[in-house]
Amino acid sequence: MRFRAKIVDLACLNHFSRVINTIAKLAKSCTLRLTVSKLYFILSDRVANGGVSMWCELCQGNFFDEYQMEGVAVDHNEIYLELMPENLSRALKTAQSAKAVKIKLTNKHSPCLRVAVELPSLSSSSRIVTHDIPVKVIPRRLWNDFREPSVPDFDVSIYLPALKTMKSIVERMKNISNCICCVLSASEDGCQSSAQGRDLQSMAEARIDIKKLQQLLVGQQVNPTKALCNIVSKRIVHFILLHEDVSLQYFIPALA
């Protein structure tokens, strides 16, 4: 089992850092799944998370200049690691002017993701900063817990308005109540219609914890190219945020 990756381009590094910062705001601890072509940050819906789950997918080719991954076995060519994204975020925070950032899975005393940042310096040789981020390797028998959640059979699906607008509204509403009721109504062509003249059959409603929604909106560092929201009435609210090379799905269960 081996993992080595390198980012040389500053723009890619910046973009990757922003994705990690977003993930860090959404989950204290999550699973990193590495495959030959993609990286996934997964948070499965446990009671400890308040029932929220997250699935974030990145194409490695869009970020890394070098990427070598050898999974646990030939027929299971993947690696699942549990880590705290906050550590990764902190390691990359001071790497914004780096010449190169190398990430490698090592096992010196315990499994670690070693982030080595090569920084420019006035002297003849570069400054190297290494951060050893402790990780737990997730054994194959538990991999089933981290399967991609299926898109729910939603009642209504809409394109969201600018997240910044939503964020400021939700922030103010937080002062009023602990939960927010998402009401989406859809007209025949699937777009959000005005509140008047509703057809009850094409409305979907779910009450969710406002803090979870705020957490999602506050963490966003880049405006997505597409943002969708699906609601299964009284069950779950499903957000899909799509950027050019990253997709983020966030599921917030409805309150009883």
């Binding site: 646990v72 902190r90 899975l105 499994p111 040789s125 190297i128 290494t130 050893d132």
Partner: protein, 306 residues
């Protein structure tokens, strides 16, 4: 200090309006008077009450320190920025070849597999002076060091670090034509016992048993690759083991023996960290079973002299 700083809170305003500042100590009244003579005949007088306290003078001698480093404050400030704000202590070490490293120090009692460890190496040519014992290292409080660095950076002064064996104080000095500053920090006695996690038998306790799959551990080749890209002409020695005193060092005698004894006594657990304060016998609290009272007292009780 807060009330003193409060008087000079708004520097631009003071620049514009204050002509003279008089600082007067009135011991009988127990106050320090700060009188700001401003334009247009306005005088602002601040009276800050004070309490006399015991005169404590730390005894230290930079000449007795075996190692010395001097660098612009900015270089050191740029180095410590990579460490988390919440990190309490940092280990400074000198590798063979003159490179100087900084590494996060994990607290005693924290599991080795839980906390993130950051390590940074600086080339000797980033320093103005490097006169260190190869393989030496000390662990001291990062928070205090950061405070000193922000002060030094503001005055653009080079910072000199004088240090000796672990356990002996480290002295940080700033020199200027106008002032001389010394910050003396205690250092941990056995830094290597904590930066080196316990041996493998204990390591597996904190993790689920490793699967039968082999972890590819190219640490050696990786570090060599890093080293060779970082410092041309350097011998391919992985820097981390420098911090570990498991590599034999002929110079050290007692601390190493002590440490080995303890390892022998309780296999698989890290030895107790002994924190010895060499200054004011009763002031600093030792962590763990420190042998405090029988220590060499460097500062006598001023009361005893009266």
């Amino acid at each position: 200090m807060k009330s003193f700083l409060g008087v000079f809170r708004s520097l631009p305003t003071l620049d514009k309006s204050v002509e003279r500042c008089l600082v007067l100590l009135r011991p009988c009244a127990g106050c320090l008077v700060l009188q700001l003579h401003c334009k247009h005949g306005v005088t602002r007088t601040h009276q800050l009450a004070f309490q006399e306290c015991e005169r404590l003078q730390a005894i230290f001698d930079t000449q007795c320190c075996a190692s010395r480093l001097r660098a612009p404050a900015q270089v050191l400030a740029e180095a410590v920025v990579h460490f988390p704000q919440t990190l309490a202590e940092v280990t400074l070490g000198a590798a063979a070849g003159g490179r100087i490293g900084l590494r996060s120090h994990l607290e005693e009692g924290s599991e080795p597999g839980k906390a993130m460890v950051t390590e940074l190496w600086l080339a000797p040519d980033e320093f103005q002076e490097v006169a260190v014992v190869p393989g030496s290292c000390i662990t001291f409080c990062l928070k205090e060091f950061r405070g000193l660095l922000s002060f030094a950076e503001a005055s653009s002064l080079p910072l000199t670090i004088h240090y000796d064996d672990p356990g002996r104080p480290a002295i940080f000095t700033l020199d200027d034509s106008l002032m001389e500053a010394h910050l003396v920090l205690a250092t941990l006695l056995d830094p290597e016992s904590d930066s080196q996690p316990p041996p493998a038998t204990n390591g597996s306790v904190s993790h689920p048993p490793a699967p039968s799959d082999d972890f590819a551990d190219d640490l050696e080749s990786y570090m060599v690759a890093l080293e060779s890209s970082a410092c041309e002409g350097e011998a391919g020695e992985p820097p981390s083991p420098t911090f570990s005193l498991h590599t034999p060092r002929p110079a050290k005698s007692d601390p190493e023996e002590e440490e080995e004894e303890e390892y022998g006594a309780v296999p698989g657990t890290p030895p107790h960290k002994k924190f010895r304060s060499l200054f004011f016998g009763s002031v600093l609290t030792p962590r763990g079973p420190g042998p405090a009272p029988s220590q060499e007292v460097l500062a006598e009780d001023s009361d005893a002299e009266c």
